[in-house]
């Protein structure tokens, strides 16, 4: 990678990024935006005569440029945002004089279940965890806007159905729910059943 950069620099094409007015404009817009900037909004600002394909290409060019720097251009919640590289976490924490706040295991487990099983009810969460879920955990997660009520389930008592909100993607550095770690490896109930009966089969 580095070698390649040098080669480019030597042949004098390193400045191609800087010459590209569109890339430069997009770089400024991403910095100016208060939240992750979507391609849709970029199209709205840049005007119809600029193809969204070109915008996408410019963003990827910027992403590559920043991939080895102290700040990164990352894609979160379907938008783009500059963020500090995570290897500088300790320095920034020191700048902010904060200690990283820790989430309790119960809160994390509840959040994970909601993220992977949404829409889901409190009863389902409790069945999976084998313990009561305190109202304050739900409240904390809602307050951080990581989870929200999506509606009510059509069963007696009409319990709330919970799912994750946009802020969950923003805060956990996810572009979409598909980026959740190992979601593909989650077994559904049928598969678990299968695993257990297979196992029994082997023994017999």
């Amino acid at each position: 990678m580095l070698r390649l950069c040098y080669a480019i620099a030597e042949t004098g094409y390193a400045l191609i990024v800087d010459d590209d007015a569109l890339t430069s404009r997009i770089e400024a817009l991403v910095l100016a935006s208060d939240e992750p900037l979507t391609i849709k909004r970029l199209v709205a600002v840049l005007g119809d005569d600029i193809a969204s394909g070109d915008i996408r290409a410019a963003l990827l060019e910027l992403e590559t440029h920043y991939s080895t720097r102290g700040i990164r251009l990352v894609q979160v919640a379907d938008g783009w945002q500059f963020r500090t590289a995570d290897e500088h976490a300790a320095s920034v924490q020191q700048l902010w004089q904060i200690r990283p706040s820790r989430l309790s295991r119960s809160a994390l487990e509840t959040l994970a279940i909601i993220a992977y099983r949404q829409p889901t009810t409190r009863a389902e969460i409790e069945a999976l965890r084998g313990v009561k879920t305190s109202g304050s955990i739900i409240a904390t997660l809602q307050e951080r806007e990581w989870i929200k009520v999506l509606g009510r389930k059509d069963v007696p008592g009409r319990p709330h159905l919970y799912g994750t909100g946009r802020q969950f993607l923003v805060d956990f550095n996810l572009n979409s729910l598909n980026d959740l770690p190992e979601s593909s490896q989650l077994l559904d109930d049928d598969e678990k059943e299968q695993m257990i009966s297979n196992h029994r089969g082997e023994e017999q």
Binding site: A28, L31, A32, V74, Q81, F82, R83, T84, A85, D86, A89, V92, W96, P100, S101, L103, R105, S106, L108, E109, L111, A112, I113, A115, Y116, L128, R129, G130, V131, K132, E143, V170, D171, F172, N173, L174, L180, P181, E182, L186, L187, D189, K192, E193, M195, I196, S197, H199, R200, E203
Partner: protein, 261 residues
Amino acid sequence: MQPVQADLFPADGDKQPVMPPVHLDQFEGPLDLLLHLIRSQQMDIFDIPIAMLTSQYLALLVEPDQPAAAQQAGLDLDIAGDYLVMASTLMQLKSRMLLPRPQLDDEGNAIDPRAELAAQLIAYEQYRLLAEELNARPRLGRDVFARCIFPEAENVERPLPEADLDALLLAFRHVLKRVGGEVRHQILVETMSVREQMRLVLERLGAGGMQLDEMLQDSPGREALVTTVLAILELWRQQSISVVQSECYGSVTLLPKQVMH
């Protein structure tokens, strides 16, 4: 409650392998505890030695040297309830395992009574892992940070932020929760000193006269309002300010002394 249970289900301690001491308050619930027992002893989750697991589990429930916090937690019906339900499930499984003739499913296969528990444990273990992975992701505000100051350019006029009362109240809730409600407490007992308020009134009149309405409008809450009025009256009495009302029911103007001379 606990001693009774100990009598009912003696924890046949002599048969048990030596386990490192654990306490209930380390666990998120009965499933977490069972997984710990199973994984730390490398039991096969698909072929759980129910008898052994049950006695270990019960022994932990009635463990006499649980720390005080857990003893207290143990008395919490909600938490104790979850652990006790699991205890009875385990006891039931144990007895069903002893039945000479196993139950059969529709196709005539023997049903392993432990299958449901195993499925529950596997599901829980998965989410426990996913929770850890979620926690390990770089998180905004903990590991990674977005830009904070506005990147103003000289010739750009920035629209000012919009007001949002809900967001404001939510933000204050955060502060309250973080400081453990202390703010509320302080607000209620905070006594505003008339002397301090007198100084403020004088300072605000420093630039010239001011309408009484205007002066009072900025006083938050009843207490501040009263304090401000008291301060104005006191300043008037001391002849540090003048109070002028040019017509009946007209507006009241406060003037600093200097202006009068």
